[in-house]
């Protein structure tokens, strides 16, 4: 039962992280190149423009949800399972989500990179 709880919490972390990352990426593409924007209109404008983007706010909320899921997962499972499992699954899920929702060109090069990184993180954090 404890294992089921732990894996449910890990899936919740992955889901919330992916939603957060995808929304943040989408929000920042809507905001535009921050460096260019800052040169043109000033830092204050960049901050206001970013903070007033609804997708940005939803992204932050999702990331907060991911953080609290992590706390729950850590209270049920070992950190040596939770941290690498959540991190490496997030890498793969992010690549899939970026292709589907952000229409990023996830070519073979990026699939290989995401898989290598996910495997590496699992080994390193495990």
């Amino acid at each position: 039962m404890r294992t089921l709880y732990t894996w449910s919490a890990i899936l919740a972390i992955v889901f919330a992280s992916v939603v957060g990352d995808v929304l943040l990426s989408h929000a920042m593409k809507q905001v535009g190149d921050v460096g260019e924007l800052r040169r043109r209109a000033g830092l204050l404008h960049v901050i206001v423009r970013t903070l007033s983007n609804p997708n940005f706010l939803f992204a932050v909320a999702s990331m907060a949800a991911a953080f609290f899921s992590l706390l729950f997962a850590l209270s049920w499972g070992d950190v040596s399972l939770v941290a690498p499992a959540a991190a490496s699954l997030t890498f793969i899920a992010n690549a899939v989500a970026a292709k589907i929702f952000l229409h990023e060109k996830v070519d073979r090069r990026r699939w290989i990179a995401a898989s290598l990184v996910a495997a590496g993180v699992a080994l390193l954090a495990g």
């Binding site: 593409k29 809507q30 905001v31 952000l102 990023e104 090069r109 990026r110 995401a114 990184v117």
Partner: protein
């Protein structure tokens, strides 16, 4: 991708590692926080390491957000993973901890993954919609800001300017 942008990506990695390490160090000084005394988590902020850690993690979020404004999520993600490598190297060479062969293999895998993705284009170009801010080494980088009235013109310009990099849409 110019030098400034690589610097931002390096910032993502360094801020994350520094922030996490300081937070971890600070929380060990603060001690265990009981589930019945959750309010003591607020007093943890007064620990200088925790406060500094939070400051660095804010720096991480700022650089991460900046990077996502001109690069794909699947491009920035591996850069954040370099933090694990940096953390392991700090553990080995600064803290003189033992790193098992399996962990060295992990370092090699992450580093080669990052090398793979860094060799490709940073941003998928969408000819329509967000076409005004095509970043990858094209003339659009120095072009006037995106304007919806000019959008079509800029999109055409960007397509002509950098046809060689990852265009998903049909021209």
């Amino acid at each position: 991708m110019n030098f400034r942008k690589y610097l931002v990506l390096a910032g993502v990695t360094v801020f994350a590692v520094a922030g996490d390490s300081m937070l971890s160090h600070g929380m060990k000084q603060v001690g265990t926080i009981s589930i019945h005394h959750l309010q003591s988590v607020f007093s943890a902020v007064t620990n200088p390491w925790v406060a500094l850690g939070i400051l660095f993690l804010l720096g991480f979020f700022a650089t991460y957000t900046t990077a996502l404004s001109w690069a794909d999520l699947t491009y920035v993600m591996p850069a954040t993973a370099l933090g694990y490598v940096l953390l392991a190297l700090v553990a080995r060479f600064v803290l003189h901890e033992y790193i098992s062969p399996l962990r060295w293999l992990g370092i090699v895998l992450i580093t080669s993954g990052v090398g793979f993705v860094a060799g490709g284009p940073a941003l998928t170009e969408h000819p329509l919609g967000e076409a005004g801010k095509i970043a990858e080494g094209s003339r659009a980088e120095k072009s006037p800001p995106f304007d919806s009235a000019q959008g079509k013109l800029l999109a055409k310009d960007a397509r002509n300017g950098a046809p060689q990099v990852g265009i998903t849409g049909k021209v």
